[in-house]
């Protein structure tokens, strides 16, 4: 169910103010929207409060230097250029980290961290973010990697896929990972909704160009589903018919409604705090 959100909370105000910082960040990566409103700036033109960018190889080698890495899973499948895994990458990841570190006392690496599902180093990062899974086509190696990751205790956040066709594709891939596990709804009384913020409704978060109608397909309503292990522990949280990633990425945009980005950050904080404690 899509429920309008018209509240003014301290978080609203905070997200709005953070948007100013995020705007500067957005400029640094040359997004089209940002380019229309501000001159293009490279990273060296302003003092970046973030920590050093280490590079993918160094991050894997020194994993542990930070307690938390916002890790994006790379997988095989359709999509433009690098593939669907890279949608919104890396701006969404960087902006999400800027904001989430202001909201939560999270000692996190400040930069994006893409790791392949096939990569043994994936296990060094117990939480991964995976989006646009409607176009994924996992290789056998990735299937094995994802299965082992989740069975060992890794937590997967899935986001930004819409409609029955994409769901079926995602489900088909998950059947290859866990043939016998079912995907069930995560109701609002689940502790993930109160791990940090108290969330009492599930909102459909639209993509940046779709804020006027939110849904990307007819009859698509937002759902939060999950997959549990044999001991009843949540190991995958699936945000279906919603696009949290765009809300994180475009929070600084005046055209992007604040209530959606606020909700997206609330849920993001909850998912991280929950995953790191349960």
């Amino acid at each position: 169910m899509i429920l309008p959100m018209r509240r003014s909370t301290p978080l609203h105000n905070f997200v709005a103010s953070v948007a100013v910082l995020a705007a500067a960040t957005a400029c640094a990566f040359g997004s089209e929207l940002a380019a229309q409103q501000a001159p293009v700036m490279d990273r060296s033109m302003f003092s970046d409060p973030r920590g050093p960018y280490l590079g993918e190889a160094e991050v894997k080698r020194t994993a542990g230097r930070f307690p938390f890495y916002w890790t994006r899973a790379m997988y095989s499948g359709g999509g433009f250029r690098r593939g669907s895994w890279a949608v919104d990458f890396p701006k969404s990841d960087q902006q999400f980290l800027i904001v989430i570190k202001r909201l939560v006392r999270l000692n996190a690496y400040d930069w994006e961290n893409p790791v392949g599902l096939w990569d043994p180093d994936l296990r060094k990062f117990p939480l991964i973010y995976m989006l646009e899974v409607g176009g994924m086509y996992l290789t056998d190696e990735e299937v094995v990697g994802l299965r082992g990751y989740m069975e060992a205790g890794g937590f997967v956040i899935v986001d930004d896929f819409w409609g029955g066709r994409q769901w079926d594709n995602f489900l088909w891939n998950m059947r290859r990972v866990f043939p016998d596990r079912t995907i069930v709804d995560i109701d609002l009384d689940h502790p993930v909704y109160s791990a940090y913020y108290n969330i009492d409704e599930v909102i459909q978060v639209p993509a940046i160009g779709n804020t006027y109608r939110t849904a990307e397909c007819a009859g698509c309503y937002p759902q939060v589903k999950g997959m549990y292990d044999d001991d009843g522990r949540l190991m995958m949280m699936i945000n279906f018919n919603t696009d949290l990633g765009d809300a994180w990425e475009w929070a600084e945009q005046p055209s992007y409604p604040l209530e959606y980005s606020t909700y997206a950050y609330q849920l993001g904080a909850n998912m991280i705090v929950y995953a790191m404690s349960h």
């Binding site: 938390f68 999270l106 117990p126």
Partner: protein
Amino acid sequence: MQGIFEFLFKYRPLVFEQGEFAFAAPLSVRTWLIVVGLIAAGAVATYTIARGKSSVVDRGVMAALRVGLLAVLVFCLMQPALTLSTVVPQQNFVGILMDDSRSMQLADEDGTVRSSFFAEQFTRGESPLIQALSERFVLRFFRFSDVARRVDGLEEMTFDGTHTNIANALDVARGELSGVPLSGLVVVTDGADTGERPLTEAIVPLQAAGVPVFTVGLGDETLEPDIELGRVELPRTALQGSTLMVDVVVTQSGFSRGSTVPVIVEDDTRILAEESVELGPAGEPVVTRIGIELQEPGARRVRFRIPGQPGERVERNNARNAWIDVVGESEKILYFEGEPRWEVKFMRRAVADDENLQLVLLQRTAESKFLRLEVSDSTELEFGFPTTRQELYRYRALVIGSVEASFFTFDQLQMIADFVSERGGGLLFLGGLSSFAEGGWAGTPVEEVMPVILGPPAGEEGYFSEIDVTPTPAGFAHPAVQLDAEPADLRTRWEALPPLTVVNPINAVRPGATVLLTGSRSEGGEQIVLSYQRYGRGTSIALTAQDTWLWQMHSDVTLEDQSHESFWKQMLRWLVDGVPNPVLAVAGEEEVEPGESVELTASVRDSTFLDVNDATVTATVTSPSGLVEEVPLEWTVEEDGQYAAPFRPLELGDYEIQINAQRQEASLGTDVTYLHSAPSDREFFGAARRTQLLRRIADDTGGQFYTRDNVATLPEDITISGAGVTLVDELDLWDMPALFLLMLLLMGAEWGYRRIRGLV
């Protein structure tokens, strides 16, 4: 040797030790010296003056021999003598203390039972020893075991005492004979003292009173062949499902080194473990560690035993019993974490199925915002970290993760230190960006609780290193790092675990701390990974690694590998192990004989673990047949919070003792302990003759030590001990055969010299 000495010098060495040398001749020594000098000078002059074919050397030798002969003669003329204080016959008392304990039933290697000594030597009218003693002294007999009392004759001896309390026996005899002239005490025993009082406490008053103690040692100094299960130590309580590593001490004599014997661990219903023990060199204790799993809740008596071996002299020292209360309830641990970290998730997962651990999480997720998990109710920790002792002391252990010291108030820091030292709780520090020196813990009241030494904090760049973790020798033997592996596989298991990372460089521990795990740093050098120390009543542990969750998540670890789960279960169980309750009940002995007194004690503290001296403390004792008896305990006065009362079980079997403490109608707490009433084998442990102990008692008091072989001189030795009513006696030495032989030797030597040199 002593016979030769006595033949040559007329008296035994002891007489020379006790006596004072003197000349009995009326003239002064100086006068005699002048006479001797004159005679010697004359003798030398005759040799000097005389002329013949002798040389100067010949004359010198002969003069020296002649002068020596004259000197011996003059020595005799001076009437040398020994002055001795000897007792006046029948004016003095001698106390004879006879060991009446069970170890007297043991037989020596030649088959002689120890107790037979009393019948042989102390039967009036039959034994020369008792006759000689009776002629000189008034004798008083005492029997002693756990208690000592005067007896009239040997017929009162039972040799069934369960203790050998020599200190108590000396005290009793000294007390009873304090009003009479006492020439000495004779203690006849094997010396296998099982009393808890230091012997010095009994010896010092005897030294002050000048009463010598003569000890007679019975039994063989070594019992061969024999195996003894020397010591077993079990904690009072253990959590259900725990694996205890119990040290068992085995000593052997007369068996070949390296041979093995089984140690069987059993309770009333089943065998808990069985382990082969390799015997060490004769007389040297060998410590073996046996793991036992405690699956069923409830109190039980665990028996450790080695089956009797062929030809073994004493089989009743092959078993030990120990009580343990297996607690089925859940122990509450507070884990305070300063930021979201993966250690939280994976530690919680690791112990989630352990019904005996309640890991309460308080995690700071933002400034003044906390995530609480596993709390008992909505009010628990609702304002964050406890601010009162009452609130903190509800937990039995505390885990502090990556949180800077400045988060806490000074009072909270002091409270954390007191949690260990006063409450007796377990405290575990975890490595992390805000832990140890990097978290500003140096200089706080908590610093000295830590088993590790904090260096300067890492700079702004921080410290980071990968470490390969290895147990130390102490670690291999410690239950917390066993990973549920078979002992033979433990090293392999640890080597297979992936490396961890540290952000707190720590390479030293406090004196007295024990290191269980170390790590080789990627850049070289050693990191202290896991160490602990006792601090006050509790234990503090430091785990400096920050990501043990890698032992669960790492791609090198198979899904079947339970190392991470085992590690944390064992760590947290260790953390709560032995943490005391406010009220602690203890029976002085876990096993006693029916009728034997045992002291029930209770330590009573309030909810803030302050000692309470005005409590009403009662023990409710339930006998094996179900009879219930109330025993009030009194404050001991000597120590705060300590209450005690004697209790004497009369039935055979297990007694349950529940101690309740109240103050002003409010309950301070209860605790239960157990007591087993049965015939005791205590006397058969360490039952060989303890010559050193008995010799020490004699030496310290001016007495003598004897065995069966030389006890005949005892009456005469007491006579010259100088204690009691005495006379001064003079013993002539001039007629010692040694002097006569010396004179003959000197004369013969001169004559022989002349013959050889042709001077005759």
